[in-house]
């Protein structure tokens, strides 16, 4: 039994890497623009379908889809930014409805182009089992966990060291003060959308390479990403990374100990629990300090 639990922990951590990438994008955009992009999961889905297309039509490894996904997803992310910036009044609520609408458009576009069938990779290389110590996983799971870790380390460096990264943090914590320091908030907002798009592209290709995708999946991913940012506490980037792993682990444990039908329930339950008991999230207080 304990082996099963440890194995579930391991799988959960691997899965959590992609979750964290998706949630980080949502959190970055919320930070700079105070907008929850409800179409974020659909952007991830687009990248996943790019991977599917590259594999099924061109016969190449889904990895080659990454550049394609980067271009397409970042373009879409910037388009979302421009649409949101067109909202004149009551932006908090109207942006929710607007991005919800964009999500509907993207989901149905995917449905039109690739039909409602469930897709998964046919690459044997990806699906081969890899053993690390006592744990098993698919090669793609491990590979993309490493990719996610590298990306997160890169993001960490970018946010703390680079000019634009620090601008993103400055605009997130105090928009007016950031303006006074000579930061253009609009540019910073676009940058945050592009970075969110980059993270979403990798996450999408990752999800296709070890899981199954279908058009309705994008919406579920948005919800998961939002749950993670709530777990973390809005504004806490390291919190989001931990939150992604937590959600991955919670889901994997539920599947192992209870049933896969309850997999979604655990995320929702965690989400509501955190909202009620600690509305600032698990790491929210830290974020307020700095």
């Amino acid at each position: 039994m304990s082996e099963l639990i440890l194995q579930a922990l391991y799988s959960g951590v691997l899965q959590g890497g992609s979750y964290a990438l998706i949630a980080l994008g949502l959190a970055l955009v919320f930070g700079t623009m105070k907008v929850i992009n409800l179409a974020h999961g659909e952007l991830v889905l687009l990248a996943a379908y790019m991977a599917y297309m590259v594999e099924s039509k061109l016969g190449l490894s889904p990895l080659f889809a990454i550049p394609l996904a980067l271009v397409l997803v970042c373009t879409c992310a910037v388009l979302v930014y421009f649409l949101v910036s067109l909202i004149r009044k009551d932006r908090e609520l109207n942006s929710l409805i607007l991005t919800y609408g964009i999500g509907i458009i993207l989901t149905n576009a995917v449905l039109l182009i690739w039909s409602a069938d469930v897709r998964s990779t046919s690459s044997a290389w990806f699906q081969d089992a890899v053993v690390v110590g006592p744990f098993y996983s698919m090669r793609s799971e491990l590979l993309f966990f490493v990719v996610a870790s590298v990306l997160m380390a890169g993001l960490w460096w970018w946010l703390s060291r680079s000019w634009y990264g620090r601008a993103v943090r400055a605009v997130s914590s105090n928009r007016d003060a950031a303006k006074l320091m000579g930061i253009n908030p609009r540019t910073t907002e676009i940058v945050s959308f592009v970075v969110a798009g980059i993270l979403a592209s990798f996450a999408g290709v990752a999800i296709f390479s070890y899981g199954v995708i279908q058009p309705a999946f994008g919406h579920a991913l948005t919800v998961k990403a939002f749950i993670i940012t709530v777990l973390a506490g809005i504004g806490s980037i390291p919190g989001v990374m931990v939150g992604g792993l937590l959600l991955g682990i919670a889901e994997a444990l539920t599947v192992t100990l209870a049933s896969s039908a309850l997999q979604e329930l655990v995320g929702m339950a965690l989400f509501l629990l955190v909202l009620f008991l600690m509305p600032n999230g698990l790491f929210g207080a830290k974020a307020r300090r700095g």
Partner: protein, 317 residues
């Protein structure tokens, strides 16, 4: 309550002319009834948005709970259909009680927390199969009864029932808006903090609006299940019961009373008659585009654009 002459004429036409002219065409009647079901949810959604200031992505929760409560009551206890429909609404209110803690949250938190509830209810309906029949669903849910020799379960009968339900909703909405609650809610819309300072319990008011909205949605859900006589979790808690009403309410104008109803009939009929035949799967793409366009170009909806003087008239009423 004040009802204008045009209003009376429209009501009379809806009760008499529509069944007379279109009643023989089953297909058109079923489309109209379906669009009115969407209209009922859209009205309830808009009430919460307009009076309560809250955007919800989880109204399918109330719709599904209302449907299940009403279906189970009629099937297990033999309760008359209309009584069960009302209790379906009550069931949705009870379901909304567990959402009360969410009312403290603002904007995106409320909108998505309520979505989480909708997912949870769907999972409960699927997993609690001893009561709900699980994912296989409930078949042969009782139909509407006969009333004085007139079979209400047909298309025309169902149309008359949902029409009456919607009119009752409209009357209730107007009554709430005209009451001192309505004034307090309008003040809250401008500044919740300022309204609290003068002694209005804003959380209580929001909770009341959530109850009203949940009740309405629950009744519509209950109507739907007796109309189609079948229920399963994926259908009862489908995202369609969220998407279509939002598009309808935003299109028609969610700050008006008639906007969501007009929007629902227009959007649903155009979607089903035109776009569904053009693009069989994925025709909702058009709805998404419509939503985006409305928010950017006319967030107030079409009704205020069409009738620029509507605000003055409503203020007088």
């Amino acid at each position: 309550m004040y009802v204008s002459k045009t209003g009376l004429a429209v009501i009379a036409a809806a009760y008499i002319a529509v069944p007379l002219v279109l009643g023989s065409n089953n297909y058109v009647m079923s489309l109209i009834v379906a669009s009115m079901i969407i209209g009922g949810i859209a009205l309830a959604w808009a009430l919460l948005g307009n009076l309560g200031g809250m955007v919800s992505f989880g109204h399918s929760a109330f719709f599904g709970v209302g449907a299940y409560v009403s279906a189970l009551l009629t099937m297990k206890t033999g309760m008359p259909v209309f009584a069960a429909m009302l209790l379906g609404g009550v069931g949705a209110v009870v379901a909304s009680l567990v959402m009360l803690p969410v009312l403290r949250l603002k904007g995106p938190y409320f909108a998505l927390a309520i979505l989480a509830y909708a997912h949870i209810f769907k999972i409960i309906a699927t997993e609690w199969s001893s009561v709900t029949g699980g994912s296989a669903g409930l078949a042969s849910v009782p139909r509407f009864p006969e009333l004085m020799g007139f079979d209400l379960s047909g298309k025309i009968g169902s149309y008359l029932i949902i029409l009456t339900v919607l009119l009752a909703f409209v009357a209730a909405y107007r009554a709430i808006r005209a009451s001192h609650y309505g004034i307090a809610l309008r003040a809250m819309h401008d500044s919740e903090d300022a309204t609290r300072v003068v002694g209005v319990n804003s959380t209580l008011l929001k909770a009341l609006m959530l109850f009203v909205s949940a009740f309405m949605t629950g009744v519509v859900g209950a109507f739907n299940v007796h109309y189609i006589n079948f229920l399963e979790p994926d259908y009862a808690f489908s995202g369609l019961w969220v998407t279509l009403p939002i598009v309808a309410a935003i299109f028609g104008g969610y700050r008006t009373i008639l906007g969501p109803l007009v929007g629902a009939v227009t959007v649903y009929l155009v979607d089903q008659l035109i776009f569904k035949s053009l693009i069989p799967s994925g025709h909702q793409l058009v709805l998404g585009a419509l939503l985006v366009a409305m928010i950017i170009f006319s967030p107030g909806g079409l009704m205020p654009l069409l009738r620029k003087d509507s605000r003055r008239k409503h203020a007088a009423a």
